[in-house]
Symmetry: C2
Subunit: 206 residues, 2 copies
DNA sequence: GATTATTTTGGACACCTGTCCAGTAAAATT
DNA sequence: AATTTTACTGGACAGGTGTCCAAAATAATC
């Protein structure tokens, strides 16, 4: 075995190790999310998360710096997945009108299906107003969502500058949050109300 | 002294007592707000608030049911004042265009002046997604703000139905929150960016 | 199969939490 | 001035918090 081979093998081993570690981190994060989405950031203790993961509390600190690191990882993981799902819709070959309809319908569906998870995002976003430790992840996720809207506008043949995308994102976000809240308090019609309201606004804005 | 007089006097005494109690409650709430706006709901303990008020912890429980009751009272008190201030603007005799400009300018000013207090509202609003104990106060305040927008639309000679007002409120709220967050993370231009963006959207919507 | 390296445990640590209440001080009423 | 009501105190209570670490279990490497 040459020296080069040796180095390469060591490097591959290191990669395999960090890949395994990354997988375990994600596995823990997924369990953590199921705990967090039920109680929210402040009310969920590391012991709750550990119990949910079937793991000792110390193990969490073995994989995550501290609580903030853990929650940041979870929210990032969830939201990245969400943006990817929405992006898949933007990339379909639909005509502009049908695309908008599908996009909004998917958001409404997400209120129904993932209400509890989405509220975790709003929770963390509010925390960022008090705790600088959350600023980065919130900024990053919000930027990713605005970028998604940029791509949407582009597909619609609309001017897709940052300012326009940001404004549209805020409209979508406000309506989403509002109807999410309604839905969580028992208003089962909130998702379709969301769809109706946003559809109307889309027509006006675009 | 007739029997009637006696009853009346007792009733006046009762009123005076409850008025005094109400005054003290508000005084405590004002101190509580200064604590809460610095740390947020979850991080502020009753001991923090008691210390800020120069009072023992037990005293807080003498005036408020529990922590949720106290925070609800504080947020309600603050937001009612805010809506009243904005309402004063709506009630001026300005022409529609000038009125809109003044209204938005006042919101931008409030980002600058009351950033820390406003974030408390967003904090509590998020909590309401997890804790039903906050649902009522959030619903009430949000309804008050939509009602404010109804009056604004009315003054502008616009159709002032609930749906339109709600949509406009959500646009204002989303932009307000977004730029408030930016401002809190050190972007001093956020308030004027808010003004520019919302002004542009107002033109489009109205 | 022995020896490192990694992963996991479970409990100790120091501190903070909201709630409650017997006792005291102050104010109001008679 | 005596008595009753109201206001307030300060500490006890039971439980929870994130963090840390020595020791044990497991896995990887030679």
């Amino acid at each position: 075995m040459t020296k080069i081979d040796k180095i390469e093998r060591l490097s591959q081993q290191a990669d395999a190790k960090s890949a395994k570690r990354a997988r375990k981190k994600q596995e823990l994060a997924d369990h953590a999310i199921t705990a967090l989405k039920q109680l929210g950031y402040a009310r969920t203790s590391l012991r709750d998360i550990a119990a949910m993961s079937g793991v000792a509390v110390g193990t969490l600190h073995y994989y995550f710096e501290d609580k903030v690191d853990l929650i940041g990882f979870c929210v990032r993981r969830y939201k990245v997945g969400f943006v990817a799902q929405m992006d898949a819709i933007v990339r379909t070959g639909d005509a502009p009108d049908a695309l908008v309809a599908r996009f909004i319908k998917r958001l409404a569906l997400s209120i129904r299906r993932d209400a509890e998870t989405h509220r975790l995002w709003y929770d963390v976003r509010s925390q960022a107003m008090f705790d600088p430790a959350f600023e980065e992840v919130v900024f990053e996720i919000e930027a990713a969502m605005i970028a998604l809207v940029v791509r949407l506008l582009d597909r619609l043949g609309q001017p897709a500058d940052q300012a326009r995308a940001q404004a549209l994102y805020l409209i979508l976000d406000a309506a989403f949050r509002f109807h999410l809240q309604r839905y969580l308090t028992g208003d089962m019609d909130a998702p379709s109300a969301f769809e109706a309201q946003v559809s109307a606004q889309f027509v006006a804005v675009i």
